[in-house]
């Protein structure tokens, strides 16, 4: 096997699975609006959007009935399984770019949206923190994509010591990238974009 590592873009490029409905909306946008419970009259009246949302409802119902994994014994109503599966569906629609996993030249990749979701969740393990936009950009190395630069926006508790909080978030993100993903990281840039109610002493972070 060779060590040549062009990113596998032919089939896994951005939005290759997304679909524009006959009304002009992207399927991913319709699903996001549904998940955000957006008050959008178009979604209520457009037959194409309503049909797409009906499919999503049916999928969610079906997934809630899954009991496939004995490891999910602490999830008696299947809601955690449902959430994870719905996440997968959404990420398939907006995958982002492929990012290199493991050692240089291994030719293993993870899609940006998948990695970003893991890193956002890691940031939200810091009490009171809510993660926003998470962008991952591979730095070029020897003409191929190398370690990623992470740019993560967070909302911080209003009473937090911000430099220490940012450092804590950075450490959690780096740890998740290494131990959960195996994603080489060059830098983690934390941007605190808002201060929110809630205390840095909360037991739980912003994990929803």
């Amino acid at each position: 096997m060779t060590a040549h590592t062009d990113p596998p873009t032919a089939r896994s490029g951005a939005a290759d699975d997304d679909e524009r409905l006959p009304c002009g909306r992207l399927l991913s946008q319709v699903w996001e609006a549904w998940e955000d419970r957006a008050d959008d009259p178009h979604l209520r009246t457009c037959p194409h959007c309503r049909e797409a949302l009906g499919e999503l409802d049916r999928l969610e119902s079906a997934v809630r009935g899954l009991r496939a994994d004995p490891a999910d014994a602490d999830d008696p109503d299947g809601s955690d399984v449902a959430r994870r599966v719905m996440d997968v569906v959404r990420l398939e629609l907006r995958p982002g770019r492929p990012l290199p996993l493991g050692e240089p030249g291994e030719d293993l990749w993870v899609m940006e949206a998948v990695a970003a979701r893991s890193l956002r969740a890691a940031a939200e393990t810091v009490p009171g923190v809510r993660a926003g936009s998470c962008r991952l950009r591979p730095a070029p190395r020897d003409g191929a994509p190398g370690p990623v630069e992470v740019r993560l926006e967070i909302h911080a508790p209003h009473d937090a010591a911000l430099p220490a909080l940012a450092e804590q978030v950075r450490a959690r993100v780096r740890d998740a990238a290494d131990s959960a993903l195996g994603l080489p990281v060059l830098a983690v840039d934390i941007r605190i974009t808002d201060l929110v109610d809630g205390s840095a002493d909360d037991q739980e972070g912003g994990a929803r």
């Binding site: 096997m1 060779t2 040549h4 596998p8 032919a10 089939r11 896994s12 699975d17 679909e19 049909e51 499919e55 049916r58 999928l59 490891a71 994870r84 599966v85 996440d87 997968v88 569906v89 990420l91 398939e92 629609l93 995958p95 492929p98 996993l101 493991g102 291994e106 030719d107 293993l108 990749w109 993870v110 899609m111 998948v114 979701r117 893991s118 131990s179 959960a180 993903l181 195996g182 994603l183």
Partner: protein, 113 residues
């Protein structure tokens, strides 16, 4: 050696070997594709090899096998991808004992559950 053709069953065998790994949830097209084929499309039958694509490498020198999979989040993602490549390479080596060096395997993790 540069095999001009690959055994017809090789792609299916690779797909099966990868899908059977304990930390691989499933291969693409995954849920969005299955959702659409089930509810809104008359997609052709989606066999187990949908997450495996074999193409000629640029310039015609050898083959490119691309595997797209959804991994279990309980395992380290890079390790799952590595295991998938090893499983694929074992199948390739068994099918093409003289031609394995001409086959490059790429693994893309497209989701975590």
């Amino acid at each position: 050696m540069n095999p001009r053709t690959l055994p017809g069953t090789l792609v299916q065998e690779i797909a099966r070997a990868v899908a059977d790994l304990p930390d691989v949830a499933f291969l693409r097209p995954g849920l969005a594709g299955r959702l659409r084929s089930a509810f809104s499309r008359t997609d052709p039958d989606t066999g187990p090899a949908d997450g495996v694509r074999v193409t000629r490498r640029t310039g015609g020198a050898g083959w490119q096998v691309e595997i797209q999979l959804v991994a279990r989040s309980r395992a380290r993602t890079a390790d799952v991808a590595r295991a998938a490549r090893s499983a694929a390479e074992e199948r390739i080596a068994a099918a093409l004992p003289d031609g394995r060096d001409d086959v490059r395997v790429t693994v893309v993790v497209t989701g975590l559950v």
